[in-house]
């Protein structure tokens, strides 16, 4: 249950952990773009080196990284196979009669799956080394200027942080209601699917009722403490841009330039 409020965050003291969340968010965002610059072996090797270096520097146990990857692994393999079987370029490598494999297909398959892999690795590195609340604050500050064009940035960030704060509370409550309903004979974990679905209803109804009550109470408590929207509001959370963050950007810039020079 704790896993949910901290997201996938794995506490640590590494270079990456200590980076400003804004720097990490921007890097992840830029990385998503520059990944598409790679189009030959040397550029993919370069991206791979950057990704591996990032993982190494984060000092995260590989198990966490693998766990983050697991659900997407199938997609990567499927992408690879699709390309291998459907791209008909270059010399023929294998002919099984009903199925022909070309060199171009294998190459494309490898490239596209590597691209996916790098994207997943870098973005999960972001969530593994940054708490959800820091990510929220980072997004809020990065999007700050968008308030001028009427984007509800503050409201969005507040909504996120309240959601993060209440997830454990609601989970605890779900557990409690489940126990109460089980005590009355409801079955949540056995029986036919139809029965189990039916038993969800007496779980959801009280949960929703209480969530609305909580929302009402919370709104009142917030108003009582002088909340009146984002305008003129200060923040206790301070983001500090340091030398580390600038270093990261220089590395990213170098990577970008090398990709541009080396791509074919």
């Amino acid at each position: 249950m704790q896993n949910i409020i901290i997201g996938q965050y794995v506490p640590g003291q590494s270079f990456i952990h200590k980076l400003d969340p804004r720097a990490k968010l921007l890097t992840a965002f830029l990385f998503v773009i520059i990944v598409f610059l790679a189009n030959n072996w040397i550029t993919y090797v370069l991206l791979g080196a950057f990704t591996l270096l990032a993982i190494f520097v984060s000092k995260l146990p590989l198990r966490y990284i693998y766990n983050g990857l697991k659900p997407i692994l199938l997609v990567i393999i499927l992408t690879f196979l699709l390309h291998v079987f459907l791209t008909k370029e270059g010399p023929l490598l294998l002919d099984l009669g009903f199925l022909e494999v070309y060199e171009g297909g294998v190459e494309q398959g490898i490239f596209i799956s590597l691209r996916l892999l790098f994207l997943i690795l870098i973005t999960s590195l972001l969530t593994l080394t940054t708490t959800p609340i820091d990510i929220t604050v980072g997004i809020e500050t990065l999007l700050g200027p968008m308030k001028k064009i009427g984007l509800p940035v503050h409201e969005f960030a507040l909504m996120m942080s309240i959601a993060l704060r209440f997830i454990p509370t609601l989970l605890e409550e779900t557990e409690k209601i489940m126990k109460a309903q089980s005590a009355r004979g409801a079955q949540f974990s056995s029986g036919p699917i139809k029965e189990r679905l039916k038993s969800i209803v007496p779980l959801l109804v009280p949960l929703f009722v209480s969530a609305f009550k909580r929302a009402e109470d919370l709104a009142m408590a917030m108003e009582a403490r002088g909340y009146r929207g984002g305008e003129g509001r200060t923040s206790i959370r301070l983001l500090k841009w340091s030398g580390k963050d600038t270093t990261l950007f220089i590395i990213l810039l170098l990577l970008c330039v090398s990709l541009l020079l080396l791509r074919s």
């Binding site: 942080s161 109470d217 009142m220 917030m222 002088g226 909340y227």
Partner: protein
């Protein structure tokens, strides 16, 4: 005594088509006192609390807090800064994802500079003895601890009045003691004015002054000893008398005479053994 809050002949209802919840309520709150408000469920206590800090506005009459009338739009923020409310449910008033964030919430709303905020936060968490939990998440705190954080979040704004709206009713006895002790200390040491809305007459008996509400009206007001003399009236409106008082009343019915009202166990014990001496 300096009058902090004046409620003048206030009537209120939530909706036009609904009956009035408060009928012509008048009330004064004085600086530095501990005022208990008691009354049956639905007698309008929470509604009154909401009127006292401008969460609701009177339909008739006025609410004045240190001279600010809650009807003036500009005054509302001054009033909310001066009157803090600790609500009943510890979970539903915890806004932040950590103790520090939660205590900061009100300060952030007031637009305070970060440096000053940090100072205020440290100061107020120390007053409620939660300084070791600054980074703790709410679901790892007990109910009593959460209520103490709520108090810290309010006193960080340096209000003149703290209202406890059944703030201890969802807590276990230990949590209840924790919260009440914290408030008593704040009252003694900081001269805070406390309005405690409660069902617990034993707690109310400890107050400096007592207001009894029934069906949206203030039906009695005075020091606890005086109010508790009208035990029958309190029972009639559905309140449970403090246990020591119940014992005393039961004994009086059986012909024992007491020299004074016993509101605490200690007083009762003292009365009982002196009673035996006389006999």
């Amino acid at each position: 005594m300096e009058e902090l809050i004046t409620v003048q002949d206030v009537s209120f209802r939530y909706q036009e088509d609904q009956p009035h919840v408060l009928h012509g309520v008048s009330l004064s709150v004085y600086k530095g006192e501990w005022l208990a408000i008691v009354g049956h469920n639905g007698s309008g206590k929470s509604t009154l609390a909401k009127l006292l800090n401008g969460l609701q506005l009177p339909e008739k009459g006025d609410v004045l807090v240190e001279g600010y009338n809650s009807r003036d739009e500009e005054s509302i923020w001054e009033i909310r800064r001066r009157v803090g409310i600790v609500f009943q449910n510890p979970d539903n008033q915890f806004v932040g994802t950590s103790v520090r964030d939660d205590v900061a919430f009100g300060l952030e709303n007031s637009g305070m500079a970060r440096e000053l905020m940090l100072e205020r936060i440290n100061e107020s968490v120390q007053k409620v003895r939660m300084e070791d939990y600054l980074d703790q998440e709410p679901h790892r705190l007990s109910g009593g601890q959460k209520q103490r954080v709520a108090i810290a979040g309010i006193i960080a704004l340096r209000p003149s009045i703290v209202i406890l709206d059944e703030a201890t009713s969802m807590l276990d006895p230990a949590g209840r003691r924790e919260v009440l002790q914290t408030m008593r200390k704040l009252k003694e040491e900081e001269g805070m004015t406390v309005i405690s809305i409660t069902h617990d007459l034993e707690e109310a008996a400890q107050a400096d002054r007592l207001v009894v509400m029934n069906a949206g009206e203030v039906i009695d007001e005075g020091i606890p000893v005086e109010v508790f003399k009208k035990g029958d009236m309190l029972e009639q409106i559905g309140l449970d008398l403090p246990f020591p008082l119940q014992v005393q009343r039961a004994l009086s019915e059986r012909g024992y005479d007491f020299s004074r009202l016993t509101l605490s166990q200690e007083e009762l014990v003292n009365e009982l053994w002196t009673l035996q001496l006389k006999v």
